[in-house]
């Protein structure tokens, strides 16, 4: 099976709120001293693909739309033993418009050629639009299954997808090709690359295309949405720390506060 995994580089989402700043005029987050990392759900998607390939064979191509520096997240994916990588260079700053990204990914995927499944993270840890997978499926005219945690072989030409729902999970079966968005699960927690594979990743093929190479003209692509405002909410509650001379006294006081709230219900 040929699996394409789409990967996005983002500002480290783990930076503490107190260190996070935005440029409200530019409507962008400030980079500050934060690292750029692979979006966690893209890592979950790659892990899902790696496990499928280990069990059933196949090839994994990772694709990213982003600036030159996004090569780093593709190298990391190669170190995790993805077979090939493609970077479509898009230097436009600011918000990556989800429809523009989906169109660019679709164009790149068509250029890559034969594939059976495209895996993406359910959303990214920066703008969190959660739309690229769905829009990509529409651009490619394929079915889409969201919030999946694992893939398994089914009848020839088909795949079984286990996905999460609000109340539990469900099993869906789809013909290939298809688009799948991946969510986190205990079974797709990303692995750590081996040192030897990190060394070898620099010898693996990484193709770079411009937007023109894939036939995308940013100027002629009408916008999908724009950021009108970006700000940091200031909402801090004053926490009353429960005091007491002994542990027992503190627990009693804490219990009384809880009881007080629950009595008012």
């Amino acid at each position: 099976m040929n699996i394409i995994v789409c990967i996005k580089q983002i500002l480290d989402p783990e930076i503490p709120a107190r260190d996070f700043r935005v440029d409200s005029a530019k409507r962008e987050a400030e980079r500050g001293s934060a690292n750029l990392v692979t979006n966690i759900f893209c890592e979950n998607a790659l892990e899902t693909a790696l496990q499928f390939r280990e069990a059933h064979g196949g090839k994994i191509t990772v694709v990213s739309v982003g600036p030159e520096g996004a090569e780093d997240v593709l190298r990391k994916a190669l170190a995790l033993t993805a077979n090939e990588a493609v970077l479509v260079i898009n230097d436009a700053p600011g918000l990556a418009d989800p429809l523009f990204v989906a169109r660019t990914l679709a164009a790149a995927i068509r250029k890559i050629g034969a594939f059976d499944a495209v895996l993406l993270g359910r959303e990214a840890g920066d703008w969190g639009a959660g739309q690229t997978g769905g829009l990509l499926a529409e651009e490619l005219g394929l079915p889409c299954i969201s919030f999946a945690e694992s893939l398994a072989p089914a009848a020839p030409g088909a795949v079984q997808v286990k996905r999460q729902t609000d109340s539990g999970w469900e099993l869906l079966e789809s013909t290939m090709p298809l688009v799948v968005t991946i969510t986190n699960h205990e079974k797709n927690v990303p692995r750590i690359p081996k040192t030897r594979d990190v060394m070898q990743s620099y010898r693996k093929p990484l193709t770079k295309w411009t937007l023109a190479d894939v036939g995308i003209d940013p100027a002629s692509t009408a916008a999908y949405y724009e950021v009108a405002e970006l700000s940091i909410p200031r909402k801090e509650t004053q926490c009353e720390f429960i005091a007491g001379d002994t542990l027992e006294a503190k627990i009693d006081a804490f219990a009384s506060r809880l009881t007080e709230v629950m009595r008012a219900l």
Binding site: P13, D166, E186, Y225
Partner: protein, 322 residues
């Protein structure tokens, strides 16, 4: 033309989400001077249809054998078939997993723009403005939807319902949609994780555990505490990823959005992505051994202690308090 459509899944019934979607839809329609059209897919649910009619200008009910159970491709096709001739200005959905799954694709098929997890929606000139948390809740963005219709999935449970007083109920129409079974995707099986009581999203009291619990065993202790408090159980992503509790317990940016009267976080640090799921809670409190844990910045009151020393005696004390 130019109306507001609210999509309501019949299966979910007249729940808080349906009420919130219609509330937001009513206010948006009024500010646009447009009509509010509720669209129900699935076997007729009287309470839902009556509830929707009371605050809408019309209710279209599409009941079709293929809409008895959710299917991504057929539900999408049905919504497109119903929405297209209406040429709406906005289509609103709830932020359940199915709503999120449908929205972007629906926008694409209708030539519109989507945005989701909206905490607010407003008209600004010729555009719809959607307010939502970004950067894991560390920032708030107002997104201007360039294309029409604006397809928006909402934090519906946190939105005020509409007031039906003084309004004649909207007309209820059965609509037929021409649907064929999707040849590509089939639903093999559906599994509901057994959990007693109300849904997490509708719970009034929640006890939630995190990575600091150190394993699955302490969750049993938390469960006893929750039972004493009449609470539902939830967890952080770290606890779900560790496999200690089911994924459906996850609360946060990419988990459930909850809005209880009381949220008790135990051994949860309070990362912004976690807070995104609990920010609508009335009272947030925590037990954490680290006084600098970010969770305390969101708490009305909190206890700095090792949870292991607290849970047992706390449960006994609460049982005594009654």
């Amino acid at each position: 033309m130019g109306d507001v459509v609210c999509y309501l899944p019949a299966k979910a019934g007249w729940d808080r989400s349906a009420q919130g979607v219609l509330g937001a839809g009513r206010r948006l329609a009024d500010s646009l001077g447009a009509k509010l059209r509720a669209v129900v897919l699935g076997p007729t649910d009287e309470a839902l249809v009556q509830g929707a009619a009371a605050v809408s200008d019309s209710v279209a009910v599409a009941d079709h054998p293929l809409l008895a159970e959710y299917h991504p491709e057929t539900f999408l096709a049905a919504l497109v078939a119903i929405c297209k001739p209406l040429a709406p200005r906005a289509v609103l959905l709830g932020n359940d997993t199915y709503g999120q799954e449908l929205a972007a694709r629906l926008a694409h098929r209708l030539g519109g723009s989507a945005a989701g997890d909206a905490v607010g929606i407003a008209v600004a000139g010729d555009k719809l403005h959607v307010t939502r948390g970004v950067y894991g809740g560390k920032a708030t963005a107002v997104i201007a939807l360039v294309r029409s219709p604006g397809v928006v999935w909402l934090r519906a449970r946190a939105m005020d319902p509409a007031d039906p007083a003084g309004r004649a109920p909207g007309e209820v129409q059965k609509v037929t949609v021409d649907l064929a079974a999707d040849p590509r995707v089939k639903v093999v099986s559906r599994h509901v994780e057994a959990k007693e009581g109300v849904k997490l999203e509708e719970a009034r009291v929640i006890v939630s555990g995190g990575r600091g619990l150190g394993g699955p065993e302490p969750f049993k202790q938390l469960q006893e505490l929750a039972t004493t408090m009449g609470a539902q159980m939830a967890a952080s992503r770290a606890a779900c990823d560790a496999g200690w509790v089911p994924a459906s317990w996850q609360v946060g940016q990419t988990g459930k959005k909850v809005a209880p009267e009381l949220y008790l976080a135990i051994a949860i640090s309070g990362a912004s992505q976690h807070i995104m799921g609990i920010a609508d809670s009335k009272v947030i409190t925590a037990i954490n051994r680290d006084p600098d844990a970010p969770i305390f910045k969101h708490c009305s009151f909190g206890l700095v202690e090792d949870y292991q020393k607290v849970i047992g005696p706390l449960r006994e004390k609460l049982a005594k308090n009654g």
